[in-house]
């Protein structure tokens, strides 16, 4: 049965508060904290990027369980901020965890759902018997244009999943997707910052696809929200996932552990993977978890997951790597100037 063998997350130490960003642009912090439910977001260190975050998340996963890296037959890294336009992050990750050279690899881009797309690919390779283990990562150091609404939430972080069928800690019972060509949010080649369609990103974007994939999963699995203990939705802010959860019949307690955006921000390709990691951090054997990601462009991947006894067995050591809550603790706050320096928003002498 294909599932999650182990998982790990990584969040950089630095943060910037929404009030500090609104201070610079003369905006109103309460609109963001109250309206969007986001208070602060993570910021990468000067020497961190989507690749270093992906490696740390992968290494955290491997700290929790003894997986022979040479048996990892595929590495896929999803991001919107791959350090290279050409030269895969997946190769650097593969090298850094000792999985090279007998593996396949590629980088994915699908806005915020590139990480879950990587999980689906690994599922297929494992299920078909082509590889024993696959590593799927969603990692980002997302950029928001200065003073744009997205600047308040575009954050940094990532999570890694080793997919296999040999004693998983959580079985992925099913996955299905809902994908269309929808220009809700995009970034042209060579542009520094993404652009978006404003309110168009809501109903025709996020809600249509999350509902589309979620309802499809309910239909294919003959389930409703009540059949799940937890649910994780893509979280560009706190408002959207809470609304879609409610519309689909989920209760607040079900989405609570996986709703990390208020003090993390939107980690783009890392968002759903980190939300799932936060849920797995507290899950018990038998818990059933519903996951639905969303990536602009647009599409959603939904998953039906059941946690197994292996999560508390001797083989898997959850405490061997930091939980998402532990990664969120003891942040170092930056002012806007330091934040701009960290994010490369200051034009230096070339």
């Amino acid at each position: 049965m294909v599932g999650i063998i182990t998982y790990g997350a990584y969040i950089p130490r630095y943060r910037i508060k929404v009030e500090e960003i609104t201070r610079v642009w003369g905006a109103n912090a309460a609109d963001i904290t109250g309206g969007l439910g986001v208070f602060e977001k993570s910021v990468p260190d000067l020497d961190e990027d989507a690749a270093t975050i992906a490696v740390e998340a992968a290494r955290n996963a491997l700290k929790r369980r003894n997986v022979d890296p040479e048996k990892i037959g595929a590495v896929y890294v999803g991001s919107e901020s791959h350090p290279y336009a050409v030269k895969p992050t997946a190769c650097t990750v593969g090298e850094a965890i000792g999985a090279t050279p007998r593996m396949t690899a590629a980088d994915y881009e699908f806005a915020c759902k590139a990480g879950t797309a990587a999980i689906q690919t690994c599922m297929g390779l494992v299920k078909s018997g082509m590889i024993p283990y696959g590593l799927a990562i969603g990692s980002d150091v997302s950029q928001g244009a200065p003073s744009d609404a997205l600047e308040y939430t575009a954050a940094a972080g990532g999570a890694a999943y080793v997919i296999g069928n040999d004693d998983p800690i959580a079985i992925i019972n099913h996955t299905c997707s809902f994908t269309t060509d929808t220009p809700d949010f995009w970034r042209r080649e060579g542009q520094d910052y993404p652009r978006h369609g404003g309110r168009f990103t809501g109903d025709p974007g996020y809600f249509k696809h999350v509902k589309g994939a979620s309802l499809l999963l309910f239909e294919q699995m003959h389930t409703t929200a009540k059949d799940y203990d937890y649910a994780v939705f893509h979280q560009p802010n706190a408002k959207f996932p809470q609304k879609v959860a409610k519309d689909l019949g989920f209760k607040t307690e079900q989405i609570k552990p996986g709703l990390v955006v208020p003090h993390l921000g939107n980690t783009y390709s890392g968002a759903s993977p980190i939300g799932l990691a936060a849920t797995l951090d507290i899950a018990k054997p038998g818990d059933r978890i519903f996951v639905c990601s969303f990536g602009s462009g647009a599409g959603s991947d939904a998953f039906d997951i059941t946690v197994t006894d292996a999560i508390t067995s001797g083989d898997f050591h959850r405490e061997a790597a930091p939980s998402v809550q532990q990664l969120l603790k003891d942040p170092i706050y930056l002012d806007y100037a330091r934040y701009a320096k960290h994010k490369g928003k200051i034009v230096m002498q070339s």
């Binding site: 260190d45 961190e48 690749a51 270093t52 740390e56 290494r59 090298e95 850094a96 070339s350």
Partner: protein, 130 residues
Amino acid sequence: MSVARFWRHLPQRYNMVGTKCETCGRHFFPPRTFCPDCRRAGKIVEHKFVGSGTVVTYTVIHTAAEQYSMLTPYVLAIVKLDEGPQITTQIVMDPAKVKIGMKVKSVFRKIATDGESGIIHYGTKFVPVE
């Protein structure tokens, strides 16, 4: 640093792969293929360092080479790895808090980049063990 020179030591830079002399038990990082103590009698094998160590001495760099000027002030230290060898490395931390004797562990970071269009040099730095 040229692409070949960077690439050649990826196992050392990313994964702290060194060597060990099985004859006398001494560890080497960077790897040595010849034990200076046992000489030809030494049996050398590969050894992947755990990435844990102690600060032996340090400084805080305020004036750096151009490649690292964005990071100043940063902590540069000589760390004694648990297995024995000493290395020079950056420690990512508040410079005011560095102390001789503190325990550190390895992390994966960007060391430098070859300008705006050259390759990125990833490698290992250290952070305090909390």
